[in-house]
């Protein structure tokens, strides 16, 4: 057995919560190439398989021009439309030959291209990925056809009221920042996508540049040979110079509300959100809000126990403070079993927020949560693909896995007073947005 593997098993086995070890226990190599490209290699004990995640620090946040919502995601589709050397059929054939599972996804701050395959195929996979990141070439006809597949994606999402709820929440909560629209984009912009060929080339020139990209390789690999391969295939990639001017969101100055009518029978949904700070592994506010999502709204919380378990007024309740490059939202979503309870559920949720501003969280409960967080993270690292996927979302924010360790160290330092301070700073009426979604009343009825 190789030494690296033995060390790794030891590292994983020692990963108890009471030890002072880092939450991300695996040794990794981080390497910067002269063109600005960064490579993170994590050797693991899991045999044969390699996960390759290519993270581009551009997402729907970068859609700064009007009429271009949804473009980062659309562009992700175009990345599968081939190059001179590898037209789509040839690219697909290479992947199929490798038995690779591959896909891509786009979010507010990132676009990720990922593949999982057998280790002997790593050189070829890096070669075809390097080729499309540098030499993407597609016809206007292919571009227009792919725009329809994006519309198909919008269509398949459109039967879910949650997509609509999110759309309305962001539209209501933001005025200037691009977080105002979802990653999918507005329907009218999606329908206009076929006409944006020239802009798509511009988008590629701006963001598909080494300084925006971090390559993550996790699995049955040696860092030195991965470095050599990446240098070979990505070394000639030219650095770019574009920097997007992302509009700053002005402070919110009053509570906002919106109502969404849903065309088919559904249970009512209620979203309550407050403006929240950008991701940070240094500042305690965001970390404290992350903890409040659990303390206030997870299945062990008083509110969940009341609404879901005892009174059974609600059948879904969750909260999150998603990591974002710029200030975003702390959100609570709930599905209410009977429209008659909507008002009282809303009141209970608001009271829960208010309580964090008044009372200190019991220290013991906070310690329990800290244990939960460390175990939850450890349980996620059960295969190479999961490790790469977990790192990708952090790397998109800071370009280094070390941020995971810093963030979890920050969690460990949070005190009940830190939580109260963060609640007082962010859970104020001025920063609140409430959106409700319910079945549209029959025609001629009232919307009250």
């Amino acid at each position: 057995m190789r030494l690296a593997t033995l060390l790794l098993i030891a590292a994983l086995a020692a990963q108890g919560v009471d030890s002072p070890r880092k939450v991300f226990p695996l040794p990794y190599e981080q390497h910067d190439f002269p063109n600005g490209l960064r490579l993170v290699t994590v050797p693991t004990e899991f045999p044969n398989v390699v996960a390759l995640y290519i993270v581009v620090q551009a997402g729907s946040r970068n859609e700064v021009e009007p009429g271009k919502s949804g473009f980062a995601h659309f562009f992700e589709h175009m990345m599968f439309r081939g190059t001179k050397n590898y037209p789509p059929e040839k690219y697909e054939a290479v992947k199929a030959n490798a038995g690779a599972a591959s896909n891509a996804y786009t979010s507010d701050d990132l676009t990720v291209y990922h593949m999982t395959f057998s280790k002997e195929d790593l050189p070829k996979m890096l070669e075809i990925e390097a080729d499309r990141f540098q030499n993407l070439e597609y016809s206007e006809a292919a571009f227009r056809t792919e725009a329809l597949a994006v519309l198909g994606e919008y269509n398949k999402n459109s039967s879910s009221p949650v997509s609509k709820l999110f759309e309305a929440l962001r539209e209501t909560a933001f005025d200037r920042h691009t977080y105002k629209h979802t990653t999918m984009g507005f329907l009218k912009d999606i329908q206009d996508m076929p006409n944006q060929y020239a802009y798509s080339r511009e988008f590629f020139q701006r963001y598909y540049r080494p300084e925006y990209v971090t390559i993550i390789v996790v699995g049955d690999v040696q860092p030195a040979s991965v470095r050599t391969l990446v240098a070979r295939y990505f070394g000639a990639w030219k650095r770019g110079s574009y920097r997007a001017e992302i509009p700053q969101e002005p402070p919110q100055t009053g509570p906002r509300e919106a109502k969404v009518d849903w065309p088919t029978p559904t249970l009512p949904w209620l979203a309550v959100a407050y403006k929240a700070p950008a991701y940070s592994d240094v500042n305690k506010d965001g970390a404290a809000l992350d903890l409040i999502a659990y303390l206030g709204f997870s299945p062990t919380s008083d509110l969940y126990q009341k609404l879901v378990i005892r009174e059974q007024k609600v059948d879904m309740l969750s909260a999150s403070n998603p990591d974002h490059a710029d200030p975003y939202l702390f959100m609570v979503m709930s599905r209410i079993k009977s429209p008659a309870d909507a008002a009282s559920v809303k009141e209970d949720i608001l009271k829960t927020f208010a309580a964090f501003k008044d009372r200190l969280v019991p220290a013991e409960r906070l310690e329990t949560l800290k244990r939960h967080l460390r175990y939850s993270f450890a349980l996620r690292l059960d295969n190479s693909e999961a490790i790469a996927a977990t790192l990708a979302r952090y790397v998109a924010l800071t370009r280094t896995p070390e941020t995971v360790n810093r963030k979890y160290e920050l969690y460990m330092q949070i005190t009940p007073e830190d939580i109260r301070q963060a609640a007082r700073k962010y859970f104020n009426d001025d920063g609140r947005t409430v959106v409700t979604l319910a079945t549209a009343p029959p025609k001629g009825g009232t919307s009250k």
């Binding site: 086995a13 990963q15 108890g16 004990e45 045999p47 044969n48 697909e92 054939a93 199929a96 030959n97 490798a98 038995g99 599972a101 591959s102 896909n103 999982t116 395959f117 057998s118 292919a142 571009f143 227009r144 056809t145 725009a147 329809l148 519309l151 198909g152 994606e153 269509n155 398949k156 459109s158 039967s159 879910s160 009221p161 949650v162 065309p263 088919t264 029978p265 559904t266 249970l267 997870s298 299945p299 062990t300 126990q305 378990i309 059974q312 059948d315 079993k337 329990t368 949560l369 244990r371 939960h372 967080l373 175990y375 450890a378 349980l379 059960d382 295969n383 190479s384 693909e385 999961a386």
Partner: protein
């Protein structure tokens, strides 16, 4: 050979009635998959949903000594949970814990399964959850999963697979606590049990688990005898009417092939070529989405694969004696709906007529031989597949597939296609708004020419000319329009 494969243990000596699948390893995690050979197919008449509700009471209700709140509070610091999955013939309880917490976690897991709490307030909440799943989540919020589930219901109508795994709304409302206790006593027995444990558990742990589960009633081994699915004499179309902006299709028919059948590996290759799930390599995807932009994707299946819109690999422990062949066409824009169905049938006809080429065969075989590695990339999946292999009576899944692939020829695949697949005598499920208009289009057999937003290669426009007039051959008496409110009631 992988270490895990060498360590694959089979033990049925000490407690003769219980099967054990154990995959010991050095991981700091321990995975559980406790399987009972019972599921929705055993729901008593008038009590459809009994299996689902019983399983939910175990995994998401309190235990004899702990309320559900106490269970949740106890699991929280470990970041652990107990998940249940109910299919036609299998119910699995799964969970994972860090080795630090093994004792505490197992104590709760064991009690949940062996000493359920049977509290009325849990029953009320879980019954609501299942009804809301059927009425709101499935019927209202997910046209694609709705179409797939209706397809199964329709193909197996009047048979033990003929209702949703979550049951039926009226039955769920009528099920009592006594019904659940009875279902539990009769089916959650040692004879029906497969204990699956994997990961870094300590020596002696497995024996303890076996001993604990020996507290279940012995039961008798009574394999479920299923009647053959009703023959389909002509294609039936079920159109689900609901307010929606697009048209979703699922179509298929029963096949005799399942894991262990001599043609399973060949049909797996055929299916991968035609429509590997959520990959861009399949023929249907290439012709429908890639070349024509009709929708988000198009795939083919020879095994039940629920929740496919949310995941790339199937969940294990959905083993069935009977499977169907299925094509999934993701939602299309209404003006192209008729053409899209014609194109899918055109491709299926071509597939039946030409089979796959030698080149395509080599490529697909190579893909499948490597892809099986990815299916088993987690310890949890490895454990689940090992249990399924036991159920189907086949060797370790990757070995089973690779050995068959090594001997397979193109002719084996083409013979399997000709023998098991067809394009007539199927069930077509359509989820759409204004089904009446679409029905009239189907029956008229009128041309459905395509217009594109960009020039197409001549090869496509020429092919479109043939497809736009392709006869679907549906008969009016075989087309039924069902309001969505009537489904799963």
């Amino acid at each position: 050979m992988r270490l895990a494969a060498l360590a694959f243990l089979v033990s049925s000596l000490a407690w003769p009635k219980t099967e054990v699948v154990a995959l010991p390893g050095k991981s700091p995690l321990v995975n559980f998959r406790i399987v009972f050979r019972v599921g929705a197919a055993s729901d008593p008449a008038g009590k459809h949903g009994a299996a689902a509700l019983t399983a939910a009471m175990l995994s998401r209700g309190g235990t004899k000594s702990m309320t559900y709140k106490q269970v949740v509070d106890a699991l929280f610091p470990m970041a652990a949970s107990i998940q249940e999955q109910v299919d036609k013939e299998m119910t699995v309880f799964s969970g994972v814990t860090h080795i630090d917490n093994l004792e505490n976690y197992y104590r709760i897991f064991r009690e949940a399964l062996l000493e359920p709490g049977w509290r009325e307030e849990d029953l009320k909440r879980l019954r609501d959850d299942l009804i809301n799943y059927l009425q709101i989540t499935l019927r209202g919020n997910n046209d694609e999963e709705l179409g797939k589930e209706v397809l199964y219901n329709e193909i197996y109508r009047g048979r033990p697979y003929g209702w949703n795994n979550a049951g039926a709304v009226a039955d769920l409302q009528a099920i009592t606590m006594e019904d659940l206790k009875k279902f539990y006593r009769e089916h959650f027995t040692q004879a029906n049990l497969i204990l699956g444990v994997a990961g870094g558990y300590p020596p002696g742990f497995l024996d303890r688990v076996k001993k604990d589960f020996a507290a279940l009633p012995a039961g008798v081994e009574k394999p479920l005898k299923l009647p053959s699915p009703a023959p389909i004499s002509a294609t039936r179309v079920v159109m689900v009417e609901k307010k929606t902006r697009s048209v979703a299709y699922s179509l298929g028919f029963p096949i005799e092939v399942r894991r262990g059948h001599p043609d399973y590996p060949a049909l797996l290759v055929a299916q991968s070529y035609l429509g590997q799930h959520r990959q861009s390599t399949g023929r249907l995807y290439q012709r429908m989405r890639e070349a024509r932009g009709l929708n988000y994707g198009d795939y083919a299946y020879i095994e039940y694969f629920p929740r496919g819109m949310f995941q790339f690999e199937p969940d294990p422990n959905l083993a069935r004696q009977q499977q169907i062949f299925q094509i999934w066409i993701r939602p299309v824009e209404p003006p192209t709906a008729h053409f899209a169905l014609r194109l899918a049938m055109f491709e299926l006809n071509r597939f039946l007529r030409d089979g796959i080429s030698e080149e395509a065969f080599q490529k697909t075989r190579n893909f499948v031989s490597k892809y099986v590695n990815l299916l088993l990339k987690t310890k949890d999946a490895e454990l689940g597949y090992a249990i399924d292999s036991r159920w189907y009576g086949i060797p370790d899944y990757p070995a089973y597939i690779r050995q068959a692939l090594a001997k397979m020829t193109r002719e084996d695949v083409n013979r399997a296609i000709r023998k098991h697949l067809r394009s007539d005598r199927m069930v077509v499920v359509v989820v759409a708004q204004d089904c009446d208009a679409l029905k009239r289009q189907f029956l008229s057999e009128a041309p459905s020419p395509m217009t594109y937003n960009a020039p197409k290669p001549e090869e496509i426009t020429r092919e479109d000319k043939i497809i736009e007039t392709l006869k679907l051959g549906f008969q009016p008496e075989n087309i039924q329009i069902v309001p969505v409110e009537k489904i799963f009631e």
